[in-house]
Structures are given as C-alpha cells and as structure tokens.
Symmetry: C2
Subunit: 408 residues, 2 copies
C-alpha cells in the first residue's frame, strides 16, 4: 500500500535549543517508523525572530519591509538545517528546503504575504527516496523571486498549505500545550481537553483569546478542508483534532468557555436616535485605530438611547478621547467608562441546533447572583459582560452548567 503523507509542524519553543531540536528529530523519526512519509515544517528557534527584529530596530524604526523579510527568513533557514543535521546524525536521511526551494509562491505583500501556490515535485521526489523533507515555515518568494514572509501564524499556515497540496492525512501542529481545552486550565482547573473541535468553534475560541492556534491558520485549514491535530511536543498523548463539522459534534452544545479580562467598557449616554449616529461614532474610532469588540445598543426610549461598546484596555485612553470629542457634535449627554469588567463567552457550533443555550447561561449566572451588564450573541457564541470580580466565578459556573468539567 502507498504510504500516507504526514505533515508535522514544530513551533519556535519546540526547537528552542539544540536539545529540543534533537527531541523533535526523535519525534519525526518515530512518525516515519510508523509508516508515514513525513514532511516537517519548522519555525525559527525560540526568540531568534525577536532578536533579529531587535537588531533591525537598532538601525531604523522603519526598515523597508522587503529587507525585513530578507532578514527574518534566515531564522527558519537556521532551524531547518540544524534539524536536518540532527535527523541525519540519528541515522535517517533528511533534507531541508527554504520556501524558495519548494516553490512556495506568494503575493508581493512583504511581511504579511499570502500563499498563491506551492510546488510539490521536489518534496515528492525526496519523500519517494524515503527521505524526511524539512521545509522552512513562514517564508516564500513572490513571482520576482523576492523573499517574502507570511506574518503572524505563518509557519502554521505553511504547514496547513503543504498538507493541502500534498493531500496529507493530517497536519500535526506541535506546540507547548497539549491540545485545545474547554477553557484555560490555568484558570479553570476542571477544564477538559477536547478530542475534536470544529473549525468554526476553534476560530471563535482563538479570536476570544485561546492562543493555541492563530485564527489565520484555522481559516486556511477550513478553506482547504485540512484536518489539524494540535498536540504537545513534549508529551506523547494525542491532542485535539480540528476538523469540519461531523455528526457527533451535534450532540456537543458547547465546546468551550472563555474568560477575557483584557477589555474595558465605554457607554455614551443619551445619544439621539438619529440615522447614521452609530456609523459616525464607530467610523471615528476606526480612524483612530481603536479596535472595538462588542457593541450593544438598546431600543431607544423617548428618541434617545445609550450606546455601549468594549475595547482592549490599552486602547481605552484613545477611545475615551474620541468618544468625548464626539459627545457634543452628536448631541449626547456624557461618556462613562469602566475597566472593572470581565467578558465570559460560550462557544459551540452545536448551539445552532439546540435551543435554550442563552437561557441556560443566564441561569448559571443568576444562581451565583452575578449581574449581567451587557450581552452579545453570534450564531455560535454568546458573550456576557460582568463585573471583573465576578468573572472567574461566572466562567466556572457556566463551565459546570454545560457539563464541561472533567470526570473525577
């Protein structure tokens, strides 16, 4: 039987030093021994990329992005060659390739390029010679053979893209956590590791702050229908499979609970309920590069309404300036704000088919006497803003209510 192709991706912490590179070599060889043709994607070692950025900053605040890509792409070139050496030292043939060498062609947007195509000939040629193929993550070339990089989450995207064009069985993404959890286990100790989670849930969890995978790579995997297996570099246990919606997911109402204390709330009080007012407010905020997360506007009362929204705490000062400057011109009364908030969210594609999820969530909070300040919902997510001091209790109560706690 034809051997199946497996793509394995190891991030910077997984190849942080020589000993860790040797560990990765052993894991790769183990996969080969299981009968896979293995393609490995690696990031730059540990803080190497940050060190290079520091070096550039000492020269200029505003380096040409083309030259930044020339600089940063060296990081992966170092780690792929060292990994190839380590695997060869252990008696297995391995060969490393830059993005250029495997024909990973991108557009020309330096520092955040998008992949246009990947050549497979050279990779397949070496896989068929029973060699392990190592590809530099994060980097490519444009059509003029200029070196480009893919930006944040770039190595994950390289791995997913390779898995797609090579029709790999799965794309294993090795990282320093051992999977996707129903909540952050450092905050909610009863959180359970998920065996499987849908792309959409993963996207919501990622955008809400679960830092396992960058949303771009999940979107990419969803678009090309690549199964991702997120697992730990340092333990052998299975991690979490991220995949399209499958039948059994329908029974799982909620995949996870996310607690976010990084936002602040702003309320513009008594805004005249006139056409275009909301547009005016959020256009001004966007122009000032303030990222607005949740927006709530109630039905108006006597032609006036309150508009509330949340922003990241580091943007609060700027958001307040913009809002206060607007108060007069839009005829509102005042602006009040609060940093003492927490946002608790439940995420799950299953809620599309299950009624009463919101009610169940609100009930969990009411049972703990936790007051809800704001509510916002999407098709697969419900978020509530509560007092910061109630945040943890809220998240725990909801986690328990939806039966996510791990079995004792």
């Amino acid at each position: 039987m034809e051997k199946k192709i497996l793509v394995q991706k190891f991030g910077g912490t997984s190849v942080g030093d020589v000993e860790k590179i040797k560990n990765v070599a052993r894991r790769v060889i183990a996969a080969k021994k299981k009968g896979y043709k293995v393609v490995v994607v690696v990031s730059a070692m540990g803080d190497h990329t940050d060190d290079l950025i520091e070096l550039a900053k000492k020269i200029t605040d505003n380096p040409p992005e083309r030259e930044m890509d020339m600089l940063l792409s060296t990081g992966e070139q170092v780690s792929i060659s060292l990994l190839a050496m380590a695997i060869n030292k252990m008696g297995h043939k391995a060969i490393s390739f830059t993005g250029q060498q495997v024909g990973l062609v991108t557009d020309s947007v330096h520092c955040k390029a998008k992949i246009k195509s990947i050549g497979t000939d050279r990779i397949l040629e070496h896989l068929n010679k029973n060699e392990i193929v190592i590809v530099a993550g994060f980097q490519g070339i444009n059509q003029e053979a200029e070196i480009t990089t893919l930006g944040r989450g770039g190595s994950d995207i390289t791995a997913v893209a390779l898995a797609s064009v090579l029709k790999a069985k799965v794309c294993e993404i090795f990282t320093d956590v051992d999977g996707v959890y129903t909540s952050d286990p450092r905050i909610i100790p009863t959180a359970r590791k998920l065996k499987v989670v849908s792309y959409d849930d993963m996207l919501e969890l990622a955008s809400l702050g679960a830092k396992v995978l960058h949303p771009r790579s999940v979107e990419f995997a969803k678009k090309y229908n690549v199964d991702i297996h997120v697992r730990s570099t340092f333990v052998l246990d299975e991690g979490t499979i991220i995949t399209g919606e499958v039948k059994e997911m329908e029974d799982v109402v909620i995949s996870g609970v996310v607690l976010n204390k990084e936002e602040a709330k702003i309320k513009i009080v008594s805004v005249p309920d006139k056409l275009g007012i909301a547009a005016k407010i959020f256009k001004k905020l966007a122009d000032s590069n303030v990222n607005v997360d949740m927006i709530v506007q109630n039905v108006s009362d006597n032609g006036r309404t309150d508009i509330s929204f949340t922003v990241f705490k580091e943007d609060l000062k700027k958001a307040l300036e913009v809002s206060k400057a607007l108060v007069k011109s839009i005829g509102a009364k005042e602006v009040i704000c609060s940093e003492d908030i927490a946002m608790v969210s439940v995420v799950g594609v299953g809620m599309r088919r299950h009624a009463g999820v919101a009610a169940k969530m609100f009930e969990a909070l009411a049972n703990k006497n936790i007051n809800i300040q704001m509510i916002s919902t999407s098709e697969i997510r419900i978020s509530c803003v509560v007092n910061e001091k109630d945040g943890l209790a809220a998240a725990k109560a909801i986690h328990t209510k939806f039966g996510l706690d791990k079995k004792k």
Copy 2:
C-alpha cells in the same frame, strides 16, 4: 559620461555590530557621492559564522555539507539586509540580494564551491535606477538551486568575481589593516605600506603568512585581471593596489620580507640516493595529511644524502612518526628534528630582472653573524631557515639591506 562601477567588499570585522554597519553605510554612500555606481559585497557579522558552526557542532561532528551551506549562508543574509536598512535610513536607496538572487552559480562542491557564472542583469537594472546594490558574499547556488558556499576567502572571491563580470574600475577590499606592508609592522616597525604590489608577489606574501587576503582571491583577481584595492574600513587613507605587473615595478626588486616561526625542520639522515626514494617519503607524508613546505636535498656524497624539509609545528608529531617508520624501509640512518627554527623570505617579481638578490640577502645575514641552515628559492622568492633566536634580527637586517625601511 557613463558612471563607472565600483565594487566594495567589507569583511566580518567591518560589519561586526550595528555601529560598524552604519559606518560601512557611510563609506558606501560616500563612494556613490563621488560618482560611482556602487556594488557592495559583505561577509557575515563578526563571529556570526563561527557561532553557527558551534551550533552545528553541538548536534553532530559530521554534518552533511549541504546542510552546513544551508546554515552558514544565513550569516551573510543577515548582514546584507541590515546594511540595506542602514543605507535606506540615511536617505539613499539600497537593495540586498542573496547569491541565489543574483544568479551566482557554482559547481556542486558544498562548503568549497567554485564560481561558474554570475548574472549581471538584476544588478545592472538596480544600478541604473541609481540604487546601491548589496550582494551576499561567500554564497551561491548550484545548477539544481541548492545553496553552496565558497569556503575560506569566499567573500573576497565573490567581490573579485563581481568586479570582473561587471567590468568594474576596481574592487576595493576593506579590512582591519590599511594595506599590504613590506613586512609585518607589528614585528618590524620600520615596515612600509606598499602603494602597489603585483598579483604574484601578493600570492607569495599571502602563502608565507601575510593574512591581508586569501591567496584564492588573489589568484582569481590575477586570472580575470581585476585590480584590488586593499584598504582600511576605519581610516580614509588609500591602501595598496594589487594589480598585474606594470613597468615601474621593475625597479622594485623586493616587495616584502616575511618572517615565519610556525614551522619545524625534519632531517632524514643518510638516505640511499636511489630512484624514487624522495617520492616515497613525500607520498607517505601527503597520505597522512602532513603539509610539507620547503624541501632541500643536497648532492649526494658516496651514494647517500640527507633530505630535509619543513612542516607546520602542529603537524610535526605526525610527520616524525611517518618519517621514523620509513627510516628502516628506505635504509636511512636516522631522523632528527628541530622546532627552534625561523624562516625568512624575500619576495619580489623584480628579482627576475635583477641579479644578485640572493647574494645580497646572504650578505645581510653574514654581516649579523647569522648562520643559514637551509636555502630554497623560487622564481620570485628566496627563503632561508635560520635559528629561531636569530629570526627577528635576520628579517630586520634583510628589510634594511633591500632599502624597504620607511623614510624617517
């Protein structure tokens, strides 16, 4: 008038840190302002290449050479991008290219590849847009687009090769010394900087230990008739031009005096004067990777002769083992050796046209009561082995005798 092309090469110490890179940027811009189209070749920063080699050694004693090239070529890629940033920051347009990007094609001998061809289109396109072009030294690709490196002196060779294909006016090689001297100024303080020296003299001086330029790059310059200007990165003075023989060189009998204390002497006593004996001895030494420098064999006396030769001190032990093992099989008497020797050499293409150079040298030594142990001559070089304790006095006496001392 069409602007002339100037190639400038900066070694690792010249780009050792961010401040030094800025200094290089200023020198490059100064050359552009003088009206040249400037192509810059740079090495990796300071000890960067050694650091990378150390990293590889932690993984394996015997890395695949292909992967070493993948690893080491990142060093120059870092320095070219940083230099491009520094020049851009100073308000001049600069663009960096890897060996691959300028089409520097080599053979496939990884870690010591030889250049086969260099593309000029891309370089000329950017020079004609009034940009400074920065090329990574030391690296190229073979015909399968595998990354190769050129080995010791590789960046100098890149610079000379570029100067050749671009028909540059001159190839300036910037280093931490300010030129080629009649002798090592740290040893002979009266040594003078040479304004001009022939390729052949430079080759002899380099092979005798003058570390200004690697002999390979001088050979390359000679072959393609490229003028090299060796000068200091840190001072503005003119350095030394290395060029083909010109008329005025005929008056200069001697270019330099070199003192070398790094060799030891071995004498195989009373060797039967039979056909093939010398071949046998030096074949055995070569097979043991012992580099033999000077060889002296006198006319035989009663069918027996002594064969003397010098080797680097670090090879002495091995050379002695080989020699002693041979004594019986070739029917010689014994092997004696001495580490207390110094070799003094005079070099100069001028001696081809001037008689009496050897006599003048021997006279200088005789006047100082210095005994000569061995003599060896080539067309443009005369070397004498003396007692180690006499080495410095010998070099000084010869330096003065040939009128090389600088004017007071």
